[in-house]
């Protein structure tokens, strides 16, 4: 089979979904988006199993491309499905629901384009386009906080991404091409411009990936966006930006300046992870807490890619496992938000007595994203710390161990307290009077439980069953 057709279909599916979603007939938008996202999952699975490598016309594929494509399309599919449950509860949306689904499809399209295109310039354009397609999704709930968060997201990310456009210009000026296939396979011209390009890419794509100190937009946008959008931001948008950064960073392989820039990336990565791990434990808003957890994971993933070897493979595995586990956590958070109408952990206590399944799912998802075995994130984190140890960098090893431990305790202490703690109303008022905020068990919508459960199971399967498959796919990530 000609694999270039697969790439075309992979991109055509969400693009068609976006167009059909705008047809003004009830139900068309959800059906079109579901079918297009399911098609994207199917095609990315075919690409994954075909081991397609090399150039395919306008596209480029290697292990990282295939892993990113399947991750993006899977979280896209589950977010569309979860949207069916979640967004219809929004009373006065900023945009019509058919526009919501259309933008969701376009958002996925831009991310899939970023990870498959064979040109660093188009990678930049696609990543810039993710901002345009997703900003309105953040503001969907039409509250002042969500609109403000959308504004901050648009401004900070767009201003930051201009730096990565400079990076693209420097790459072109120094190498005379932007084709990833040529840059990966050919001889890179040494000089100051390549490390400079990596530096600007770190600032630009790092802003979009939530790398500190350019992360100011991230907790706001993640906490204020509707839960399916938060899941896409956290699970696939941040790794897509890391992907662009890694593609630029890999140009340095074999150059004298590699070590300096490697240390710079490791420094930014570990600083991000440390900062997020510390702040996470003190959050009062559970969606904001999950946002900081994403920042922590992106910091660790950046360290993994910068270390290279087993660390880079571990980072790729962590991208997939984190995407499934974190989207499950955000869907669980969405269920809690729908029931309690509050994001404050002080007002949401004893969840398990009211939302039994969502409570357990949220707790397990939090365990999964913080690297509890046997979930996939554990395997990724283990491989990254193993690589740090093998390079003899004791400081980095200890820092990583500290981040893993502190992040694990910080997030899970908070989530367990929220899910299993005593409900405030059950302490103050009789059970029969506790009403909406009390602990009367609710009948949960099966879709709202099945989707996070499915994603959590995949995160588990990655840890216990799919590692050989991912290891095979991830070979050759570092040129």
């Amino acid at each position: 089979m000609d694999e270039s057709i697969l790439f075309v279909v992979l991109l055509a599916a969400p693009a068609a979904g976006a167009a059909i979603s705008l047809v003004p007939r009830d139900g068309v938008e959800i059906l079109a988006s579901l079918l297009s996202s399911a098609a994207a999952v199917l095609v990315s699975l075919l690409l994954f199993t075909s081991n397609a490598s090399g150039t395919f016309g306008f596209f480029y594929s290697d292990g990282l491309t295939r892993i990113m494509a399947i991750t993006i399309s899977s979280v896209f599919f589950t977010s569309v499905a979860y949207s069916w449950f979640y967004v219809r509860r929004i009373n006065e949306p900023l945009i019509r629901f058919r526009w919501y689904y259309s933008l969701l499809d376009l958002f996925a399209f831009t991310m899939l384009l970023a990870v498959t295109v064979n040109d660093l310039g188009f990678v930049w354009i696609a990543i810039e386009a993710t901002t345009v397609t997703s900003a309105l999704l953040v503001a969907l709930e039409r509250e002042r906080t969500s609109v403000e968060a959308a504004w901050r997201y648009t401004l900070i990310v767009s201003a930051g991404l201009v730096a990565s456009l400079l990076s693209v210009i420097f790459v072109y000026f120094s190498q005379g091409t932007l084709l990833i296939s040529v840059l990966t396979g050919g001889q890179i011209q040494a000089g100051l411009l390549v490390p400079l390009a990596v530096g600007f890419a770190l600032v630009g794509y790092g802003t979009k990936a939530g790398i500190a100190p350019m992360h100011a937009w991230l907790p706001d946008a993640h906490s204020e966006a509707p839960s399916p959008v938060s899941a896409m931001f956290s699970g696939i948008l941040l790794p897509t930006s890391i992907y662009a950064l890694v593609r630029t960073f890999n140009l340095l392989q074999g150059l004298a300046s590699f070590e300096v820039m490697q240390n710079l990336l490791i420094g930014f990565g570990i600083f991000t992870a440390l900062l997020a791990a510390v702040i996470m434990g003190y959050q009062r808003n559970y969606k904001r807490m999950l946002a900081y957890s994403s920042m922590e994971n992106m910091g660790i993933i950046l360290v993994g890619f910068a270390l290279g070897g087993v660390g880079a493979i571990g980072a790729a595995i962590q991208i997939v496992a984190h995407a499934f586990a974190k989207s499950s956590a955000f869907y669980g958070a969405g269920n809690i938000l729908v029931a309690y109408e509050s994001k404050s952990m002080a007002e949401v206590q004893g969840v398990v007595s009211r939302l039994k399944y969502s409570g357990y799912l949220f707790t397990l998802s939090c365990l999964a994203v913080t690297g509890a075995p046997p979930f996939g994130v554990f395997v990724g984190e283990f491989m990254i710390i193993a690589q740090a140890m093998s390079t003899g960098n004791l400081t980095l090893t200890l820092l990583l161990a500290g981040v893993y431990t502190y992040g694990f305790i910080g997030l899970n202490r908070q989530s367990v307290r929220m899910i299993f703690g005593a409900s405030p109303s059950s302490m103050d008022t009789p059970e029969e009077e506790s009403g909406k905020s009390g602990k009367i068990p609710e009948r949960e919508n099966w879709v709202s439980v099945a989707i996070p459960l499915a994603n959590l199971l995949v995160a588990l399967l990655i840890g216990v069953y799919m590692i050989p498959l991912l290891l095979q796919a991830a070979q050759g990530i570092v040129p």
Binding site: T154, Y172, R284
Partner: protein
Amino acid sequence: MIFSASLLEEVAGLLGILVILSALYLQSQTFVDPTIRAVAAQSLLLGGLFVVLFLESGVVDLLYLAVITAAVRGILIPMVMLYQVRRFKHSLRETGTGQRVPSLVIVGVVMVIGGYALFKTALLPTLSNPSVSVPFVLILLSFLLIVTRRNALSQMSGFLEEENAVLYAGALIAPTIPLLIEFAVVLDVLGVVLVGVILSATRDVLRTLEEPELEQLSG
């Protein structure tokens, strides 16, 4: 050639200085309306500069870039932004930053001098084109504008100035990749339309809610 190379070089230098002066003028404004007009003028200057660079180098892509820059960034985007200003009359003036404007202009001048010195020592040996110092300084000034303003449209003007700077740098460093830059320009328009909608919604909701609402976005 109709124009001599030295004349074109001098005109390019003069336009570069005017671009920097427009950036300092932007910095000195407390009203939103002239800020937008200044960024429009800066984009038109940039369009003129690209025409001069086309005459110097003969790269036709620069001519396309000049037309797109003038039409989209110099006319269309400012028109959309001015429409927003007229629609929400209460947001005509920058709040909070007003008293600090004279100090900010001085900071801007210091940044121009410091930025040039930094460029000369750190980047000039590699880029070997002293003209790139102008967009380099322009990027620093645009960051200053973004971080010191509270009004959404003033911040947007800072973002447009930053993109102007990168367009300028791109045209000087790698004039043969404007296709990419043209795409960026198209995306800009999309972005501005989108931001316009968000701004409208912000203003609508702002009328009914109090400041403490935003305290949720901290920590």
